[in-house]
Amino acid sequence: MRCAWQNPSQPEPCCGVAMSDMTAWLVVWPVAVPLVGAALTVALWGRERAQTNIGFLAIALQLAAGIVLLQHVWENGPVAMAMGGWSAPFGIALAADVFGAGLTVVASLVAFLILIYSLTDTDADQRRAGFMPLILALMTGVAGAFLTADIFNLYVWFEVTLISSFGLMVIGGRREQLDGAVKYAFLNLLATTFLLIAIALLYGMTGTLSMADLSGKVAALPADSPIETVALLFLMSLGMKAALFPLHFWLPAAYHTPLPAVSAIFAALLTKVGVYSLIRVFMLVFPDGAEIAREAMIWVAVATMIIGALGALAESDIRRVVSFTVVSGVGVMIGGLAIGTQAALLGTTFYIIHSIIISAALFMAAGMIARAGGGTRIADLAGLYKGSPFLAVAFLLCGLSLAGVPPFAGFWPKVYLVQAGLEAGAFGIVAGILISGFLTLVLIGRSFALIFWRAAPQGAPIVASDGGALMKGALGALTVLTFVLGIYSAPVANMAGRAASELLAPQAYIGVVLGRSGQADAGAVEVRP
């Protein structure tokens, strides 16, 4: 077979168009800064004060870089940078559109607040065991996944987040953690291996790995190509990462075991990376076709919403309750992708942002409840309102936002999604969103009543500890954020709308990744029959 890279008539595969453009460097910093931070903190192993300072600095700089990138993308459209000057589709490119850049900003903002929370949550020994290097490596992987334009590179970023999450999972070394980590490690490793298999099959059919290049080449494949199989493999492997039913069971088996700060960052970011990748793959690589996978996605999404909410209702441990609500939220996001219209993708993007904030907040609150009440079993928790009124109010407000009650940020994405579902005739998804929202409301009301309002046993001391100023500050900031984004939702809705338009019409993204003239696309791959 003759591949594009063997064609001597091609221009030299260096001096990519993006290289000359200095603004393209913007897309590198959100990935590079935490990576450098991770390397520095590894070099300073054991000196936890210095590591902590570097960690805060790196995440703050990542946030700043993300904001600058988002502003640039907002004003000038997508940017791309060919790594090492090897222009796409031959080299690996990083690329940012509003969707990827926006999620990077929200991810580093929430990570910063989780770092503040972790100052109280972790002790010096746990920080010395590599907390900060692993968090920074995790954030590198998350930003890399949000900003890469190459599908094999996406797999590598998945592995970067996975390896650092394994390390974070077992910091503390309690028996439950090892038990949870075994299940988490095996099932996530299987999921990424299946992702690699799907990528390999796609490469075998098209001869390219650049998602922008794949976009056209998958559509041009002969009709008897096994596109459906590959699309279903992507749905399965990325769905497993995102915790979609029926492959969600590893999440509630593991997310309640590590340190609360670690649970918070996992719940906020890791499932969303899976959701992001599903959206990217199905909007860019399989923009149409893949009918079986899309049909499956509808029912998987509905089942995930309902099973997640029912699982949360059946649980008796507050941290596992919160874990199941993460699963339910993933169903809502994938429901929007399954509908696939402008309004639905707007709702999904908004919901991802909302879910990053609210999952972190609820896991933080669950950690503080465990501190104040001395355990996580709801049966053992009672009367915490007296000692921790702030925690009670924050938990209730965040819970209401999770259930989708106005005026919180959780309300708007569900409005958009329900509206989009009714317009598109996807009544199963509409019913799923409404039923799971109702079940979540019941769940939050019940948890609040049992944990905070139920009378404590006679003679039980009133514990006034709810974590101290740093924990309260981090949780309070997220609560205020979800409230403000509900009252003043226009900026996020605008951003999500832009992201949805760009996902539906990815020509600008494809153009900027492949070089503006589009000449890199000229050498078509001839695949042997």
């Binding site: 063997q6 094999f152 394994f166 028996r175 038990d179 075994v182 490793l189 490469y203 008796s316 019940r446």
Partner: protein, 127 residues
């Protein structure tokens, strides 16, 4: 040649599926390892086999001539091998630590993080 390798990949996938269905951690580790190697071999075959023409660019030329072996699968497999080897090492250590601390390698008995349902959320006097 490709047919033979494709059959071998299928056989390795079958072996790993059989191992992964076990409840013993050791077999699970081996299953993951075989699955990883099957995937690497699959990438190699999917990149098309070209014999006796290494992917080198001749001196003086700026691009390779048509007909050389595809170098990309080798780069992909190298990346994937490094990742799967490091994760394999991690899984071994994790399983050993889990065995020390939980005293079992049978996944059916690993119920510390997920105890049998604790029953009710209420206590006697709440009802």
């Amino acid at each position: 040649m490709e047919t033979v390798l494709a059959l071998l990949v299928g056989l390795l996938f079958a072996i790993s599926a059989y191992l992964l269905l076990s409840s013993s951690l050791i077999r699970l580790i081996l299953g993951v390892f075989v699955l990883g190697n099957a995937t690497h071999l699959m990438i190699f075959v999917l990149g098309r086999l070209t014999r006796e023409s290494p992917p080198l660019i001749q001196y003086g030329l700026k691009a390779a001539e048509p007909g050389i072996a595809n170098p990309l699968p080798q780069a992909l497999i190298l990346t994937a091998i490094v990742i799967s080897f490091s994760l394999f090492a991690f899984l071994l250590v994790l399983s050993y630590r889990a065995y020390q601390s939980l005293d079992t390698i049978n996944t059916d008995e690993m119920r510390v993080a997920e105890p049998e349902p604790a029953g009710t959320l209420l206590r006697g006097r709440d009802v």
